[in-house]
C-alpha cells in the first residue's frame, strides 16, 4: 500500500505521479524500492482521475459500516 500512498502524496503536492517521483518518495521513507512495482503503479494510474477516487472515500465509510454490520 505504500506505493499507493506515495502516489497520493505526490498528487496532493500537485506533482506528476511518474516513476522517478514515486521512487524518490519511497526512497526518502527508507524503503528498498522495487522498480517493477513503481512502473506497474504508474502504468495503472495512467488515465485515472485521482481527485475523483479521493472524493469517493468520503462516501465509502458508510458502505463499509453497512457491509460490516450484519457480519
Amino acid at each position: 500500500m505504500e506505493y499507493i500512498y506515495a502516489a497520493l502524496l505526490l498528487h496532493k503536492a500537485g506533482k506528476e505521479v511518474n516513476e522517478s517521483a514515486v521512487q524518490a518518495v519511497l526512497s526518502a521513507a527508507g524503503i528498498a524500492v522495487n522498480e517493477s512495482r513503481v512502473k506497474a503503479l504508474v502504468a495503472a494510474l495512467d488515465g485515472v482521475d485521482i481527485e475523483d477516487a479521493i472524493s469517493k472515500a468520503a462516501v465509502a465509510p458508510v458502505a463499509v459500516a453497512a457491509a460490516a454490520a450484519p457480519a
Binding site: I4, L8, I54
Partner: protein, 282 residues
C-alpha cells in the same frame, strides 16, 4: 452388416437409413427419456425445439441396428437405451442441448403413485367450485376445504405432501381438480455422442445459477486480491486510491489527527459521542 439387415422389411430398412442420414447431418446424436410424457406435451416440446433439435421416436431394436451400422464409439450409446428412449439430433454441443431441454420442461398434473418433486403446497383462498361433494373429496385428500360465502374455500395454506413422498390417488385427483401442476415434464438427456465422445447425463448437468455465482465470486476474489495486496491494475487503480484515502480518513478521525480536509468528520464524531453520552446522562 448388410447381410444382417437384408431380411428386414423395407420400412425398417428405411427407418435405419433415416437414422444414419440424421447422424451424418447433425454433429450430435443423443438419447432422451420419453417416459411418462403425454402426447400433447411431446408436441409442445417438439415445437419448442424446432430449428434447434430434431426428435425421432423409433423402436429400440432399430436404433441398435443403426448404431451398429454406423460403428465406432457411437455404439456405446446403445448401452444407455431403455424402453422409453427416443433419438435426438442437434448441431449444439451436449451441454447446450442439456440446458435447452431443461428449459423446455413444462408443468403437468401428478398421477397417482408419482413422487412429489418438491413439497406440494395448496394455497389458502377461494376456489372456483360451488358447494357440493367436492368439499368432502378435498377434505379426504387432506386439503382443509370448507364452504364460505357460498363458495368452496381453502381455509389455510398447507403442505399436502412432502418432497419425495408418494402422491395418493385421492390427492392426485384433488390436486388435478384444483389445477395444481407439480410435476416437471420434459425430455431428459440420457447420453449424447458428440465429436467422438459419449457424454453421460451426470457430466451434462450444469447448475447455471451456481455457475454464474462462481463467475461473480471469481471476479470478487480478483478484486479483493488486487486491493488487499495493493496490486494496481487498470481496473482497480482508482479503487486502490479510494481505499488508501479511506484508511487515511479513518486514522484521522480515530486518532483525531487534525487535518483541514476532514475536520467535519472529526467534529461529527466528537459531537455524536457527546450526544451518545448525553442520552445516557439524561
Amino acid at each position: 452388416m448388410p447381410l444382417y439387415t437384408a431380411h428386414l422389411p423395407k420400412w425398417k430398412k428405411d427407418e435405419i437409413s433415416e437414422i444414419k442420414r440424421l447422424s451424418e447431418e447433425y454433429k450430435l446424436m443423443g438419447l432422451v427419456d420419453m417416459y411418462g410424457i403425454p402426447a400433447r406435451q411431446v408436441q409442445d416440446i417438439r415445437r419448442n425445439l424446432k430449428g434447434k433439435a430434431e426428435l425421432r421416436m423409433t423402436r429400440n431394436t432399430l436404433i441398435e441396428h443403426a448404431l451398429g451400422e454406423i460403428g465406432g464409439e457411437i455404439k456405446d450409446l446403445g448401452g444407455k437405451l431403455d424402453g422409453h428412449s427416443a433419438l435426438i439430433f442437434t448441431n449444439e454441443n451436449p451441454f447446450k442441448l442439456y440446458s435447452m431441454l431443461e428449459k423446455t420442461k413444462t408443468k403437468m398434473a401428478a398421477r397417482p403413485g408419482e413422487l412429489a418433486p418438491t413439497d406440494i403446497v395448496v394455497e389458502k383462498g377461494p376456489t372456483s367450485f360451488k358447494p357440493g361433494p367436492i368439499v368432502g373429496e378435498l377434505q379426504q385428500a387432506g386439503i382443509p376445504a370448507a364452504i364460505e360465502a357460498g363458495k368452496v374455500t381453502i381455509r389455510e395454506t398447507k403442505t399436502v405432501v412432502k418432497e419425495g413422498q408418494e402422491i395418493s390417488k385421492k390427492l392426485a385427483d384433488a390436486l388435478a381438480k384444483l389445477d395444481v401442476k407439480p410435476m416437471d415434464v420434459g425430455l431428459l438427456l440420457q447420453a449424447a455422442f458428440f465429436e467422438g465422445t459419449v457424454y453421460e447425463s451426470d457430466v451434462l448437468a450444469i447448475d447455471e445459477v451456481a455457475f454464474y455465482n462462481n463467475i461473480i465470486t471469481a471476479a470478487k476474489q480478483a478484486f479483493n486480491l488486487s486491493l488487499n495486496a495493493a496490486i494496481p491494475t487498470k481496473d482497480t487503480a482508482s479503487d486502490l486510491l479510494t481505499k488508501a484515502v479511506r484508511e487515511a480518513r479513518n486514522v484521522v478521525v480515530e486518532a483525531a489527527v487534525v487535518s483541514s480536509d476532514v475536520m467535519d468528520a472529526i467534529i461529527g464524531k466528537a459531537q455524536s459521542q457527546a450526544m451518545a453520552l448525553q442520552s445516557v446522562v439524561e
